[in-house]
Symmetry: C2
Subunit: 399 residues, 2 copies
């Protein structure tokens, strides 16, 4: 399948300095969990999120004191800021006046047409895009719980396709209001806690609309289980070329969301790595060293290196360099000793207690050589070649 | 897309009591990291893996003392056992004689035709299937490192498609030997540490062969990063209907591999849950309680319940029951108090310090009612309805 068939072509909208859609790199976003009116805490968390790799940060603005804090937060933020608006369209107007870079509106609780049109007018004046996001939960009114329960008792199939249809329909009705007001700076989302519903809902959106899509699984829970369902859904969509910005959401420190989103984009080569990539043997009955400990030690040591080299920790001498899959620096750990390899060449054999340090030394040395232009990383061509693979994005610059 | 278009139709092979392919549920497998000749440790680990949800367990048999341990291990194992064979075809013959349920052969290091034919004859006699697995690393000979590096310096595109072609070609050549010997009890794999290569390689295998596919990302590293690339690749393939058995492989306790594989199949509804599913608000600036702590407390408490109810921990009273997305038991935590809901009905309001216990009590109560037939779980139809969704498997029985 060629990239043309594969990738969901979208318009481009501009969120401050960050473009979404139209071939732009997939942007990572997260959301603060501080009280937005606590400027110091919010600015500090935005900073942590940006340093972890967030391109955009969203903040909740439930009350007027939250929107009142936005000018100071915006001034401090190294990345564009999105205001998350529910229930009160007035918060959107205040956020726009404060200079926020994007608005998220929930059509599940802001649907009054004159109110929505006031927000549209304000955003158009300042060229501020709006995300219209429906959630599975949000499309069901409280009074419809009984009806919903009845519906659920029928076939799961009917329930699911009906649900996705309802989500798309709700979005379509909402979008019509924007389009009738000549406003097309839109980003769309349709979230659920169910990975399958997320996959099907976004596939439906991609077939129907050319607005950029904001991917997310809602209410995924704690990272321990939430990351599996989030990565399964978002990974599937991204691998199909669907999605222009992602937010992974856990009940956890939002920095974890950003780290996981970054690793996901790295894994699918939708974002160039800026840090080492660690590959390692799974453990098995052939291994003669404490590989799990060695891998974790290497992982911690590598955190100080900011060169995207590929580092391999292998538990079998017999498998040899072929198994390290083009690693820049590798150790093949056998009984009592390890062979250190750099870019396919065996450098030396060290005793087991020297493996960690010897590997780390070679990583440092290679990082310096790469920095000074004396060496090239084995994966380097991946970042300079033209877009080739259906899964590669076509506007990415190395981060 | 209908299930017919979507699902990769495969033959069925039988691994002891566990069928693979031909519409059978996707089977979870893992691999022991004990020395196989240490019967006690190996049997104990197989038991832990089976209890965690592994349908099949693989063991390495590098030496004759490892295959010699197989009869005792097989007798103790609650699940079928696979022997992982490299380099020495003799180990395969010994494992077959010991009564192992499946053999994995690596054509990268066992390719001598008379040797392979001896293994085929032995397996045919006992109706033992064979997995033929190539790894990205394994297809490159040591002496080809230089050539490989040269190839890499060309376009990443060429490298990738060339690599996938090589992997498929190697498998095709190997399979020919089996087919010429009228042996079709095959399972195929083509692994890499690169999620994109894994996705593309298995898509290519699914287009070309009707043998069941064993999915895996090799050398994924520690779970912290390895699970993202593993779930992205395996989730994408499973969501496309590709894959009959999965092994997630980390440099970690293999029980973690099984837990993650199980959560992946649960998330994609390829396996019915047997334990509670926890959904929760992501944290945000609207939250007035320590939601992260509450979620973790709930997660720990739920570990004792073996009923697949959906439990929601929400941080916003205002969002109301609609947002809990059909949870069986939910708490909506606001400032100083929480509303407890059971299957959409508000049961009571409790003070903040009572939320955890009140939620847990309702979960226990519901579990009892479900056990005695007085209540039905909200997701119950999903497990009894016909296969409907393209992502649902069509042979699954509730585990």
């Amino acid at each position: 399948m060629s990239e043309q068939d594969h990738h969901h072509r979208t318009r481009r909208v501009q969120v401050g300095s960050v473009p979404l859609g139209g071939g732009a790199p997939v942007a990572i976003q997260s959301m603060t969990n501080t009280h937005t009116h606590d400027v110091e805490a919010t600015a500090a968390q935005i900073d942590r999120l940006a340093r972890a790799g967030a391109d955009l940060v969203r903040v909740a603005v439930p009350g007027p004191k939250d929107t009142a804090a936005l000018p100071e937060i915006l001034q401090a933020s190294p990345v564009p800021v999105i205001a998350d608006v529910h229930f009160h369209h007035q918060r959107a107007l205040e956020a726009v006046a404060a200079g926020v870079h994007k608005i998220r509106l929930n059509p599940g609780n802001i649907s009054d047409r004159p109110q929505v049109e006031r927000v549209i007018a304000a955003c158009r004046e300042r060229s501020i895009p709006i995300r219209v996001g429906v959630n599975e939960g949000g499309i069901v009114e409280r009074r419809d719980q009984t009806k919903r329960a009845a519906e659920k008792s029928r076939l799961a199939e009917t329930y699911h396709s009906g649900l996705i249809e309802l989500m798309v329909e709700k979005l379509t009705r909402t979008i019509r209001v924007f389009e009738e007001n000549d406003f097309t700076d839109l980003v769309l989302s349709a979230k659920s806690a169910d990975a399958r519903i997320v996959i099907e809902a976004y596939r439906a959106l991609a077939r129907r609309f050319d607005y950029p899509l904001h991917l997310g699984v809602t209410h995924a829970g704690p990272p321990e289980t939430g990351r599996i369902r989030s990565i399964a859904a978002l990974g599937t969509l991204l691998a199909e070329g669907i999605g222009d910005t992602v937010r992974i959401s856990y009940a956890a420190d939002p920095v974890v969301e950003v780290e996981d989103a970054k690793e996901l984009l790295n894994s699918l080569k939708l974002r160039a790595r800026t840090e080492p990539e660690l590959i390692a043997c799974p453990t098995c009955g052939r291994i003669e060293v404490d590989l799990i400990k060695l891998v974790q030690d290497v992982r911690r040591k590598l955190a100080t290196i900011k060169t995207p080299m590929k580092v391999a920790v292998m538990g079998c001498v017999v498998n040899g360099p072929g198994e390290a899959e083009g690693a820049d620096v590798a150790v093949f750990a056998g009984k009592g000793k390890g062979i250190i390899c750099v870019q396919g060449r065996q450098i030396r054999t060290v005793s087991e207690d020297r493996m960690l340090d010897a590997l780390y030394d070679e990583c440092l040395k290679l990082a310096e050589q790469v920095a000074s232009g004396q060496a090239q990383l084995s994966d380097a061509p991946l970042r300079v070649g033209p877009p080739a693979h259906p899964l590669a994005d076509d506007g990415a610059t190395p981060a």
